[in-house]
Symmetry: C2
Subunit: 330 residues, 2 copies
């Protein structure tokens, strides 16, 4: 028995989204497609240069928890906001989606994290994250009963950026494994992999993490190679199960010698790639915790990713449960 | 010579938008399609029942100012926010669109106004407005030089809800007329007309307001009739120029004995009617202050309204200037 299918842990962030042209990224030194970490001063500067925007709750693992719940799964989330208006918005949105969320909001300074997302005409998103209150997440925020009661505990590689979140993660993984549960992580971003390569590999090789999510660039960065097949073979050795997304080329699921390839879901129009990886993980983990075969898990992931990239913002506004049922996947 | 084409004055509001079904409106006593004024307690209650949402700067006249600027017009705005995160978002978005906005943000209590917008499957929006800091707007917020330097000063009927905004409006109209400018208002909402019918008629009949925007329901409510032609004839007598929108039936422009009918712009899909009237006014006033003929003004209004109802949120994310040029209107 379990109370939750998936617990996710991550930086709790409100997204601020606007379109821009390619030149804007160059002029402002923003690495395209990446997560650029910024401090408060740079956040103010970039915001002053940003066009009219819209706001939506985000945060990689938060999007994944919301996605699992949107599929009809039982989800929980740990992540730190401040006691301010953006924090209230974040907490509202994730709870309104039916996700268990009780992490204590701590004071008003630093404020709730925000991510300025610039979407170029090709639909690619470039992230600029001010971590704010996320730096406060630590082991004291671990709700041990929730971890023990979740089939899979999933976390972001991004959590290695704030100072003490990794302590919370190690504790979560210990509790999860003691309770006979599984653990999972996303490598998050190829530059993030560059910052914490050795630690991420250690998490995998020590068995702290069972299931790994990555995209092609992150997998290549992890093994410092340009040979994708080599990266897949390496990841197969280093963890029990991995799903590696390849944008419009779909996904490859890796388990030992198995390679299951699933095509991307056809879409009418690419609007904004924000949340694609997060929603892939949501669909995959929803299927996985329901005991579905890996191919169906992958298809559920592709379905969710295909939905979110056809809208502005990181969490699908339509019912993933309905769409999955219509597609005959659940 | 003038520095501004259009100055607008209104309640400065951040919108919180979510979809809901028809039953939700009934269960929560929300009048469909109307602007429901709510207090802080009801705002908390409704928010606790609202699904996952997205946020976007709104406010009727704010949307109109942003629309004028999006067309390439020179726009200014007066409206009151608090010195809080939502106020910062509001100020950012309107300035980032190129609108002159300098109204002093006053303290943190009451907080910046918000409007919970529930969008039903038919695309209709039902507004639930907590006025917050908007109650602080008064004559001291009138930038006299801006009023005198704007070809048209436009305001919302909604401004009769907060206590002192109407004093600011009367002052604006006096300054505008002394400077040889024109004044304009939107009747805002049929229930708002019901609350302030006598005052709105007095504004028109006294010549305080030159140009009136209304939709069919508001025009019928103003004259307490079900005879639309009678309402049009009455409005023609009571002001110099009026534009009355009729949703998918387009718009009729009324000036003395003239009746210019313009069809609605065909759309692919109705997503969310939020901002339709505000953007119609933006297109119309942009054309009007450029000296274009009334039919072209109406077409510009219909174009902008047609754009905004095909997206979530009240301010078009695409360039109205480009779309108007492509349509051969400017």
């Amino acid at each position: 028995m379990s109370r939750f299918d998936v617990l996710t842990v991550g930086n709790a962030i409100v997204d601020i989204l606007a379109r821009c042209d390619e030149k804007f990224l160059v002029d402002n030194g923003i690495i395209k497609g990446a997560m650029n970490l910024i401090d408060g001063d740079r956040a103010e500067l970039l915001y002053s240069r940003m066009g009219p925007a819209v706001e939506a709750s985000g945060g990689s693992a938060g999007n994944t928890a919301a996605g699992v719940a949107n599929f009809g799964g039982r989800a929980a989330y740990f992540g730190k906001v401040a006691d301010d208006q953006l924090g209230e918005i974040f907490a509202h949105d994730i709870r309104a989606q039916g996700v268990h969320y009780r992490t204590h909001a701590k004071g008003i300074s630093p404020p709730t994290a925000r991510c300025m997302i610039f979407v170029t005409p090709d639909g690619e998103r470039s992230l600029n994250t001010y971590l704010g209150a996320c730096v406060e997440l630590g082991p004291e925020d671990v709700e041990a009963d929730v971890v023990a009661d979740a089939l899979v505990t999933y976390f972001e590689g991004y959590l290695w950026d704030p100072p003490r979140a990794k302590e919370a993660i190690v504790e979560c993984c210990r509790i999860a494994h003691e309770a006979g549960r599984e653990t999972s992580m996303t490598l998050s971003d190829s530059f993030c992999v560059g910052r914490y390569r050795a630690e991420f590999l250690e998490l995998m090789r020590s068995g702290t993490v069972d299931i790994v999510f990555a995209n092609r660039d992150e997998a290549l960065s992890l093994y410092e190679t340009t040979d994708f097949d080599l990266a897949l073979d390496s990841i197969a050795k280093d963890c029990k199960l991995a799903a590696v997304t390849m944008s419009e080329d779909g996904v490859v699921i890796v388990r030992g010698d198995e390679r299951i390839r699933i095509p991307a879901t056809p879409i009418a129009q690419l609007v904004d790639t924000t949340g694609a990886g997060d929603l892939f993980a949501a669909g995959f983990l929803f299927g996985y915790t329901k005991g579905l075969d890996l191919e169906t898990c992958g298809k559920l992931g592709c379905l969710a990713a295909g939905v979110v990239i056809q809208q502005i913002g990181p969490r699908p506004m339509s019912s993933l449960e309905d769409l999955a049922a219509k597609a005959g996947l659940i």
